[in-house]
Symmetry: C2
Amino acid sequence: MGKQNLTLLTDFYELTMMQGYYNNKNNEIVIFDVFYRENPSGSGYAICAGLEQVIDYIKELSFVKDDIEYLRSLNIFNEDFLSYLENFQFTGDIYAVPEGTVVFPMEPLVKVIAPIMEAQLIETALLNIINHQSLIATKASRVCYAAAGDPVMEFGLRRAQGPDAGTLGARAAVIGGCIGTSNVLSAKLYDVPALGTHAHSWIMSFDDEISAFRKYAEIYPLNTTLLVDTYDTLRSGVPNAIKVFEELRAAGKMPQRYGIRLDSGDLAYLSKKARKMLDAAGFTDATITASSDLDEYLIDSLKAQGAKINSWGVGTKLITSKDCPSFGGVYKLAAIQKNGIFIPKIKLSENQWKITNPGNKKIIRVYEKESGKVKADLIALADEEFSPENPLLLFDPLATWKKTYLEPNTYTLRELLVPIFLKGKCVYTSPSVMEIRDYCAKEQDSLWDEVRRLINPHIVYVDLSVRLYRMKTDLLDSLAEQTSKSTGK
Amino acid sequence: MGKQNLTLLTDFYELTMMQGYYNNKNNEIVIFDVFYRENPSGSGYAICAGLEQVIDYIKELSFVKDDIEYLRSLNIFNEDFLSYLENFQFTGDIYAVPEGTVVFPMEPLVKVIAPIMEAQLIETALLNIINHQSLIATKASRVCYAAAGDPVMEFGLRRAQGPDAGTLGARAAVIGGCIGTSNVLSAKLYDVPALGTHAHSWIMSFDDEISAFRKYAEIYPLNTTLLVDTYDTLRSGVPNAIKVFEELRAAGKMPQRYGIRLDSGDLAYLSKKARKMLDAAGFTDATITASSDLDEYLIDSLKAQGAKINSWGVGTKLITSKDCPSFGGVYKLAAIQKNGIFIPKIKLSENQWKITNPGNKKIIRVYEKESGKVKADLIALADEEFSPENPLLLFDPLATWKKTYLEPNTYTLRELLVPIFLKGKCVYTSPSVMEIRDYCAKEQDSLWDEVRRLINPHIVYVDLSVRLYRMKTDLLDSLAEQTSKSTGK
């Protein structure tokens, strides 16, 4: 069985607008940017993810007969337009930031250059996919940062917002740093490790706890992790686990990896007690896994209290990004081509920082040469050239008196947007998820530790080039003039 | 294209446990209950949803060749077990509460009676589906309650946690009370209204706002809703919309439904001003739709301030249930059959209220005869009989001195669980989503207004029958004895 065709995964107004453009014979080439305005969970950065699924979606875009019949049945679309849809395919260009890249607010993560009817259709699915996976990858990155090198396993499928949220969410969680997932479908689809051992029901289906432990150790001799909190963690679970480990040791059958899992109670207290009991019995290399309503804040706090946990299973609060369950990516018109030239467009707002950046843009990442750490990002026009052999002016677009000059040869530059589709043809091959995970780890290493702090992190500046800044202020001036004219005020 | 086969949509430990049971030749009939412990968002109730997708999932359960090969590649499953999986199908019984039913904590929403290997496999997908849709249906019910009869449209696809979260979430939102969704795929799949008009980009793609409005009105003469906040709501958007409505009126082409949509700014202030401007021009029946980061609390607050909004588009905060993005449904073993008799099982916890209810159970809803409103729910053993001609004792299972006697013939009773699968065969036909929506509206009407209050609602009691209560306390006593014996304390 294949996947659901997602061509109709769009907002109804995209189709009504498309028909409007069709009837109006208006299908100019436009530029739309996907960007977001605020990092989720108070983070100092986000991790971009979901591009592979965007690529699949664009490649498979096609209104099948059934879709057309459904649209016809709504009695709002005319036959000419429906015929156009029957032959629909994406013919434009798409540029995007590779998955796993560290990104910041206001940067175009995806740039679509296409006839307006095509660019409009794909808005909703693009946002849905990028918003979801970037949200979970960012959350996972924070959770793994708190775990400070301990392995983190994604365990959230049962509480995810539907099958895709579990499966694509696990994919994103691995990109962000998890070592694998309990979700078998995701493990299969994205070739990432499938992880997990047994549940309370395993224990309860036996007459007593130790029989359940013995049987489990017998069947899974390579990795024996025993869940110790079904009846009484310290009085029953841990002593029974130790008894089984002792039996295995006596029989010369010690598992390569073994340990216990705590799933309830106070994890700091229980892990310290359990560690002492295990150590006293000579099981100093037994792993203590914890898995009870964890997130980056609780892991950080448990670590600060010296909890003896060295493996983490994180479920609900990671797979739903519980404290911030949406990523605010938007899709805004940046330019319209007239007579072969892109006319920049801007969307006003009462909030200065919500005003969009016009024109055909690119992102330049500026690294400090000495440390290799990210100094700032620069949003510039696509045809601007920069060289690290020149001095570079950085200034805050909302407070232009905040200026920094970088001396020549003290910094390096990198362009973040790469071509994904050109004239409708895919020109990009997605790396494997585990490769993206490695790349993402390097990306996170390029951040100062201050930017990764879980609470109130240092903010990386995202500046505008001088040319882009001027284009934007000129447009704002002329729009203000136009509005007061049209209302006669 | 069909849907993804979801057979592997399970936690890895379900499969390792299954192999454990297989090797142990232990495949006894067991009973598992799906229930939850706390209503989401501080609600006084929840709406159960997702059953139709559970049914589809169970019907389609089957390990295809590709799945088996994948599992074999993990080098943890033996060939005997893999052959068993190749022939796997669900052979058990499932009882469930119909979709759209009002439910309360601790009640078995789904009851699975099946060989333990089958019951274990389906745990994760059942929870994933029921948790997600019940969460969103409950949220939608609250949002619609706040809207107090105004239509509420589901607009959240772009911020949903992946494609399914958008599509199945929209289904659940309609069950909870929304009149339709912007998500075309969901509208098609579940036969619910597709809704929406146009975006800011439509306006920006024209030389000026009024040309964009005129063209839109020309193309969509039946329902002309104009988005008025692209440039300046009160100085440009509303005056231009009024101008277009005046032109249509002059031409005798007034749309059947028409109005404006506000998508930013202060909705109370803008809607009152816009209402006055529309009324002054004679457009007293123009709809004012609002759609900017809404949820039940903001709608309630806007209503309290006399905002002149009579149609609501609700996105992010509904489709993610932003203030509470997970529904805590769990799946717990309640009994194991030995020699044809169900032996009740219980899961201990340090928290009294987290201890599970053992045995084969049913839910009896008790209505006050006079008002038809829900008085309480009673969890009883499946073979218990109750008649409204007898007096009925209700008591709080955590504070047994809190007792109520209902007089004979002052109450009516209804059993909530209905058979869905019997011996692996589906015996239930799901109603259409719009039928479920109607049923759900009646269900919500059966609640006292005090239970529907958005904040700090009255709590409906969920009591245990005397027999179930005794079974539970007896089990707890014997378990406590057993634990102290096994640890020698």
